[in-house]
Amino acid sequence: MRVLLNGDEQQVEAANLAEALEALNYRDVIVATALNGEFVPHDRRAETPIQDGDAIEVLAPMQGG
């Protein structure tokens, strides 16, 4: 199915957010995730189903002032 990953359209086959991250190259990466604008804690990714058209934000630490 198609998802919006950090603003870009991506094709991914996954039942939940955890699988999606796996499939989208985020294995072993320290990130925080949001699904359609709602924060999804790390331990809830596996139980968070995703569907076609979902917007996924994957954020990591970055420079800040």
Binding site: N25, I30, A34, F39, P61, M62, Q63, G64
Partner: protein, 259 residues
Amino acid sequence: MTERQFYGQSLANRLLLGTAQYPSPAILADAVRRSGVEMVTVSLRRESGVERAGQAFWQMIRDLGVLVLPNTAGCHTVKEAVTTAHMAREVFGTKSIKLEVIGEDDTLQPDVFGLVEAARILTDDGFEVWPYTTQDLIVAGKLLDAGCEVLMPWGAPIGSGQGLNDVFGLRAMRAHFADVPLVVDAGLGLPSHAAQAMELGYDAVLLNTAVAKAGDPAAMAIAFANATRAGQAAYQAGPMEVRDMAEPSTPVMGKAFLL
């Protein structure tokens, strides 16, 4: 005077430093180490599964062994700021959040309405909120009512380097909230600005651009640390009284008659 605590945390070095805009990560690390900064601000940005830029940055920060204060920079709404704060808490493993709810893009001044609302939500949720605010005493009061234990009024617009644009407002805020840890956040351009803020009785200064954009960031970071320490010490040591007219420092008594 009992030592000031920031959410129960002591800070020997009252210069807080941002981590953005440095020529290189190595220079940032050098600036932090050599200035003895104990707390730095960081943010969250989109991570690519391929480049994974954030991972390297985060490793570098952890190696510095300093406290991290994640921000909600660029957030213009309560929801954005609150969601960002939650994501930051998970990634950085800290309850501390520098809360920015930006209201206007030319000055990057806070939306004090959204700020107070977001502060309430986050403190209720267990966060330790460091709000980026103005000198408005009523807003400050509401932030304290919301549970904030630190206030961070701006000195001047973020990244402008103008210094303290409203000294009266800063002085009034210090007088009005004698027991609250106050940090001048944003707008400082020179070490003398940091010293001046501390001489007014502020407890710390937070800046980024003035160091990151200096010709020699590490040297400038050390300069700001020294100036901050100097201003703090001056406030505690008790400055002389300013006089309208001159008064000889060298005693007049005993002067020779040589005409």
